[in-house]
């Protein structure tokens, strides 16, 4: 099953709509709530990052019986130092973004903690985040 969404830049009122839709879908598929939470937290953080830090982008989700694959891509300006961006507390969020309740520098670490595999590539042309969450329940 495939599902795509586009994410306009700067539009905070819509951030979370993709995660919300995917949550509804996974519930219908009877995926365990703990697993759904991992998926939607990671997806929501990625969605907010596109709204907050990029020129806009899109999301594509592929659901199989075993897992969900999510690719979130945007059209720039890219992340120059991915390792630094991944560290807890690092943020370049603007004051507008902070007023919206973001900018703790916890988004990418949250994505990492909630996905079973994560691959980030980035250039000035854009950032692409590929995450996978397995449906088999996690033993932490």
């Amino acid at each position: 099953m495939n599902q795509s969404f586009s994410i306009p830049a700067g539009d905070f009122s819509h951030a979370g709509q993709a995660a919300s839709e995917i949550k509804r879908l996974l519930k219908q598929l009877n995926i365990p709530p703990k697993v759904i939470k991992r998926v939607v937290v990671a997806l929501y953080e990625a969605e907010v990052n596109v709204v907050a830090h990029s020129f806009g982008g899109s999301i594509s989700c592929t659901i199989t019986p075993e897992h969900i694959d999510i690719v979130v891509s945007d059209c720039g300006p890219g992340i120059s130092d991915i390792e630094l961006a991944m560290s807890e507390g690092y943020s370049t969020a603007s004051s507008e973004v902070r007023e919206m309740g973001f900018g703790a520098g916890m988004g990418l670490p949250n994505i990492k903690n909630n996905s079973d595999s994560l691959d980030i590539s980035s250039s000035e042309q854009g950032t692409s985040i590929h995450m996978r969450v397995n449906f088999k329940e996690h033993t932490p």
């Binding site: 951030a15 979370g16 919300s20 939470k37 929501y44 919206m100 309740g101 916890m106």
Partner: protein, 114 residues
Amino acid sequence: MKLKEVVEVINGRIICGDAFLDREVHLGFASDLMSEVLTLLDEDILLITGLSNIQSIRTAEMSDITQILFVRGKQPTKNMIDLANEHEMVIMTTPYSMFRASYLLHESGLKPVY
């Protein structure tokens, strides 16, 4: 504690979710930073926040948190209330500050998440 006790303790007002005031909550978490809320693994949480915008409701939705207290008299918008109703959330407001509300709720038995 029950949500109807929460409202009393903080001299609050119920904005939506009247039907669920018998719901119990055991933990409290106070923050204006949504990614911090999104790190929480528990769901049995009252989210106490001064951030009254649609993202606070979305964050609760993604975290499976079903009760939010807005401090300093912050009023949610119609969009926020609609989204909260869709997810059977209870939204409350208090005129008190985050510190005062947290203190009073802790005194009444609400535990910190960590």
